[in-house]
């Protein structure tokens, strides 16, 4: 079937079998292999991309379900969310937020989506008071990132990198 959506700002028209997942469309049909396939069942987060600005597991979605939508992958994230993504990517390097790197694109996309959820004040499982303004503590951050596993156990570096990006954002918005 005919499917069109926008990936990293470029419109893509594809002729795909309805069975093709969003992840396979990105990787195999558009050659955007930054998004990774870890488990293919929603259990690891390696395939995380942004759809209309929200983080989702590309492996548990059909390409056909995204007609007309705007997708951002790791290849385009630094252009679409320049301050957060660029700071985060540099911080991942600075703090050794990876070893093999397989989970990294998913971690970065997920963190960018997570930080915008936090800016909207969404609560999480560990939020004490559902009505109070949100403070993105370490516990909040790790709970919100629990959908991204790292087999190399680079969590301490990943957490530091995301905290750096989130603090940079805060001072950005205060300066503005």
């Amino acid at each position: 079937m005919q499917i069109s959506f926008t990936v990293n700002g470029t419109r893509q028209d594809m002729e795909l079998d309805p069975r093709v997942t969003l992840l396979d469309a990105l990787r195999d049909h558009l050659g955007l292999t930054g998004s990774k396939k870890g488990c293919d069942h929603g259990q690891c987060g390696a395939c995380t991309v942004l759809v209309e600005g929200r983080r989702v597991n590309a492996c548990l979605s059909l390409a056909a379900m995204h007609e007309g939508e705007e997708i951002t992958t790791i290849e385009g994230i630094a252009q679409t969310s320049p301050d957060t993504a660029a700071t985060l990517q540099q911080a991942m390097i600075d703090y050794d937020g990876m070893q093999c790197g397989y989970c990294t694109p998913g971690q970065v996309c997920s963190a960018v989506g997570m930080l915008s959820e936090a800016r909207e004040g969404w609560p999480s499982h560990v939020t004490e008071d559902l009505d109070a303004p949100l403070e993105l503590t370490r516990d909040e951050l790790t709970e919100r990132m629990s959908g991204n596993l790292c087999r190399c156990g680079c969590y301490p570096g990943i957490v530091k990198a995301i905290r750096t990006a989130s603090e940079a954002r805060t001072s950005d918005s205060e300066a503005a």
């Binding site: 548990l60 009505d131 629990s146």
Partner: protein, 324 residues
């Protein structure tokens, strides 16, 4: 995955007509259906996307809420009205799955998600739910994430939803549109069916029935708690969970609605437990008795025996916190 046709209707008539064709199934977020289609545990001939029907709104309705079938779990959990007046629902949603999955998962899809029983998901194992009459490999097999209440000799599969547990404690109603366009509503209490000798039939929906929304009446209790116990701190299904909605009056429990996850073949609620708490003064012995009544007739296997004391302790803890 088996081949299928995909359609994305933009009105209810079209969606219901397409959903009534042979082998058709609706898709919301797809986070459960696509998973099971990859395993070929589900193999619909026709997949009908219902996410563009305008069913994605949460509306005030009298003193209650009408939650569209395709409202995403993340949006429902973050809605200010839900956070303030139905916190047990926000809490249950936030305790489930991951940020990414909640951004896709829909209200209706969450209610209708299938069991995580590994034998159901493995096409080489016997499963009466997948293939009626095939037998049940879980009975006598490896069990842990299985039900202890509502089971039958044909099936002990657990209903895995967190959200549905909170909704049971909140007396939710399901709004359904049939293929002829008729609307009907069902209490969540009468929506699910126990496995008995037909474990493949899980709800009272008929072929082509589309869930359009879930209604919550005004909250009957302001003391709301959801507590979930699991194998890891996040991103895991419940071993046991308890949702409580209570109202206190003069030191006595004036309203009690308690529902349970991780123990039942459906999101569990026992009117006997609610009745014995109602009108009483909180005490250890009252809460212990409630825990005993709850597990009367529990069908326990070696791998699930731990759930009996666990659910009793979690219940007691939740009730004390709720009345405090």
């Amino acid at each position: 995955m088996r081949p299928f046709d995909f359609t994305r209707p933009d009105d209810l008539e079209g969606a219901c007509a397409a959903g009534f064709t042979e082998g058709a199934t609706f898709i919301g977020g797809g986070t459960n259906l696509i998973d099971l289609m990859k395993l070929e545990v589900m193999a619909p001939a026709h997949v009908v996307d219902v996410t563009r029907l305008g069913l994605d709104r949460i509306e005030d309705e009298g003193d209650g809420l009408n939650i569209g079938a395709t409202v995403r779990n993340a949006d429902l959990a973050a809605d200010p009205r839900v956070r303030r007046r139905y916190p047990v629902l926000s809490r249950a949603l936030l305790a489930g799955a991951s940020g990414q999955l909640r951004n896709r998962a829909t209200t209706a899809g969450n209610l209708l998600q299938r069991t995580r029983c590994p034998y159901f998901q493995d096409r080489d194992s016997a499963c009466n739910k997948r293939t009626p009459g095939a037998g049940c490999a879980a009975l006598g097999g490896e069990v842990r994430n299985h039900a202890i209440l509502g089971t039958s000799e044909h099936c002990i599969a657990l209903h895995p939803s967190d959200m549905a547990v909170a909704m049971r404690a909140l007396d939710a109603e399901i709004e359904v549109r049939d293929p002829e366009g008729g609307m009907r509503s069902m209490d969540l209490d009468h929506f699910y069916r126990l496995p008995r000798d037909t474990p493949h039939i899980e709800t009272r929906l008929e072929p082509g029935d589309l869930i359009t929304s879930v209604r919550l009446p005004a909250p009957k209790g302001d003391r709301q708690i959801y507590r979930k116990v699991r194998d890891r701190a996040s991103y895991a299904f419940a071993l046991v969970s308890v949702a409580a909605v209570l109202r206190m009056e003069g030191g006595k429990i004036a309203h009690a609605a308690v529902a349970f996850g991780g123990i039942g073949t459906e999101p569990w609620r026992d009117i006997e437990v609610d009745a014995m708490l109602t009108g009483e003064t909180p005490s250890d012995s009252l809460f212990d008795k409630a825990g005993e009544v709850l597990v009367q007739g529990a069908d326990v296997q070696d791998g699930t025996a731990f759930k009996v004391p666990l659910v009793q302790r979690v219940l007691k803890d939740v009730l004390w916190r709720a009345v405090a």
